[in-house]
Assembly symmetry: C2
Homo-oligomer: 353 residues x 2
């Protein structure tokens, strides 16, 4: 399901295997990370699944072996080459400095360090070149962007390069799994209860409902989720982009969708945009009249773009629809992809360079 | 649940009661129309529920009486004062000319006549003045706009009057009930099956999914649903408005939501916009940080506006979130509201004028 990257494919198995810690290993994203490390035959010497003091699961299966999930402690990071973190911002802030001190490269899926000017915020298809200066043993944090930002910038970057970006307007349709495992369980339960004629609890997830409030907000301002997209997008694209963003939680298990309008700097026909997108890395375009949907693309590592058409409201504009699996390209796969690129670039570097 | 309109309230019961035909009386919207006629104490002398040859229901209850649902035939329109139609475009095209010939005023909830230049397309809060020239006995068609258009223009009109409209960008979150009773039944069934681990049928409604394809489309163009909003909005606002529209079906039973960005002609602060919207007819604004949601407003005749905030992408712009019950303000209530206004204006007209 994850697209092959031939250069990584031929190299990652040749490198000295790594000691890999996964922080938040029992969550939805942590589990996907562990599964991807196995599927991609990532060069793991030792896998160290870490979780909070009372993990939901005692053991994880990796390459057919049952591996105990350990409570996170400073000692676990000794000798770690790579830390994949998806245990919440507070835990990343607490533990990643410890791991960095121990010399590990940390790929952080939380928002803790994303806007730190010292921390690269990476989507390999867009700004993977920033990884060239990073090598294992260095003790560095690399940030994984927010799920809804990743799929957006994968689609925006080829358009930016070809036609320039003047402004971007996005409305999202974000699945429940983006809120974690507990939210999925409560959502499933609420959906069952409502189907049986039950009443809706005040703080229940939006079963049979949509909610334009992910995180917190102040009156007259964006939500925390919207702020992430507003701040992360220009950092990844390496240029300012005026944006309107509305982030909405929808009753879908997995897969985020986005309705996007962009004003380009130069005139563009939608057929040209389709061409440019179809040649861009990490994208599957859906020409014709059948758009991709979240349920269809769940389990898939690509960013799917459909309904490419002219903007009628903006000069030099386009409208399109972007869908991706928020747990994979939006989180675990983007992180593992960064790790693979680091492994590949190490092998290609001249010895002692 | 339906807001009182004091002028109508005092007059509709005084007028000579009307013979009212409801075409498509057993559908979701038809049933809501019948319920509203009763709740609003509309001056009905005789209610004639009409449906296709094999209606799903034999009888409807109106004012405590069981009334047979009759197959639609030309004779039923003889002596009809008012026809409320919600039986699909083909049936409106077939039967409304017959009803007009018989002298009835027809309020049509289908798309059949909306873009006919001879047919007024009415949202009472926006362009209800166009009803002034219409009276019972005249044989006229009045079109009810599409559900997603109605709630949009109720929110746009006060902003247009106060600040002017330069461009409008809308992404919708449209509930399943907009696709009719059959769709709701199949959606419920599909949701149950998926919860029990069943597989998804190819043409099933979007249970746990979102689909940006309502109606048909051509590659590079809008869908039929999007085209309705693109064409109806300027007709109702009585000025051209460049628009980007993405219409998306979401797994919600009832209530449509819309994320909107507008560029105004003149500078506007979001607090001013909130003021203007809070004084506008038919709107309930939601200041503060808790936005309205479809499930919350279902059963309510108002248009709910929340998350009013500045646009960051457009000059002189605003972003906001609009929610309404698509079966009520988006369909049945807007139609009955038009009928009430016609009744009220007749009483106020000087006799013989």
């Amino acid at each position: 399901m994850i697209p092959d990257s031939p250069s990584a494919e031929t190299t990652i198995q040749e490198r000295q295997p790594l000691r890999v810690c996964v922080l938040g290993a029992t969550g939805l994203v942590g589990r996907a990370m562990v599964r991807l490390l196995e599927e991609r035959q990532f060069p793991v010497a030792e896998l160290v699944p870490l979780a909070s003091a009372k993990p939901r699961t005692d053991h994880l299966t990796f390459r057919g072996e049952s591996i105990p999930v350990r409570p996170v402690r400073a000692e676990e990071f000794a000798g770690a080459d790579l830390v994949l973190s998806s245990a919440g911002g507070d835990r990343s802030r607490e533990w990643l400095p410890v791991a960095v001190e121990a010399g590990a490269v940390c790929i952080d899926n939380t928002s803790a360090f994303r806007m730190d000017p010292e921390v690269p915020l990476i989507v390999p298809e867009v700004n993977g070149d920033l990884l060239d200066s990073i090598s294992f043993g260095q003790g560095r944090i690399i940030a994984n962007p927010n799920c809804s930002t990743i799929q957006l910038v994968v689609a925006l970057e080829p358009l930016r390069r070809a036609f320039g970006l003047e402004r971007v307007l996005v409305s999202t349709y974000q699945s429940i799994s983006g809120a974690g495992r507990g939210a999925v369980e409560r959502f499933t339960q609420t959906t069952r209860e409502l189907l049986e004629g039950g009443a809706r609890a005040a703080d229940a997830p939006p079963a049979f409902d949509v909610l334009p409030l992910i995180g917190d907000t102040e009156e007259g301002g964006p939500t925390t989720e919207e702020r992430k997209m507003l701040e992360e997008t220009p950092k990844i694209l390496r240029e300012p982009v005026p944006m309107d963003v509305t982030c909405v939680r929808v009753p879908v298990f997995t897969g985020h969708a986005e309705a996007v309008s962009v004003q380009t700097k130069f005139p563009v026909r939608w057929q040209e945009a389709l061409q440019v997108l179809s040649k861009a890395p990490g994208i599957q375009v859906h020409p014709g009249t059948i758009p991709p949907t979240p349920a269809q693309v769940a389990g898939d590592g690509l960013v799917h773009v459909g309904r490419v058409r002219p903007s009628q409201a903006l000069e030099h504009g386009l409208q399109f629809w972007v869908v991706a699996d928020n747990l994979l390209k939006g989180a675990a796969w983007n992180a593992v992809q960064i790790a693979e690129q680091l492994v590949a670039s190490q092998r290609c570097s001249p010895v002692g360079a």
